[in-house]
Symmetry: C2
């Protein structure tokens, strides 16, 4: 399956959340990652995030696409994510 | 079709970009909006954004789902978007 993760977390946890997400997904923009992931890895990712974020302050949203057959991705402007940009 | 928009734009343009996006979509998190949108409205949205952002500095990504039949949305933590939070 294909997962898109968007997060909005407290400044103290930003780097840690990004680090966790990057173990599983590709960074595409400031606080957005995406990628193919197995069910098992997705569970692990969610568990790690649950332990890290402050649920009373932070927000993480997962869009889970069982197939990318019916979806597209369009970009405008520059690429902000990517392997070359390491925080 | 269902569209998810994520943006990362210069501070000066944040409010304007959000305002444009909210005309067409529902705000779900800091710089993330989603919603059902017609092909025509989506074109208008992209045109308005193109005029507003600085393409050499800003980044906007659109995920376009022709159907939401094969997708799900999961959230963790608090809700950060919504009508009650007006910048």
């Amino acid at each position: 399956m294909f997962v898109i993760v968007v997060y909005d977390v407290g400044e103290k946890r930003v780097a840690k959340v990004l680090k966790i997400c990057r173990k599983y997904l590709t960074w595409v923009q400031n606080s957005v990652l995406e990628g193919e992931i197995s069910e098992a890895s997705f569970k692990k990712l969610k568990l790690e995030l649950k332990k890290t974020i402050k649920e009373s302050e932070d927000s993480v949203i997962f869009y889970i696409l069982r197939t990318t057959k019916y979806s597209e991705r369009e970009a405008m402007g520059i690429r902000k994510g990517g392997e070359d940009l390491i925080i």
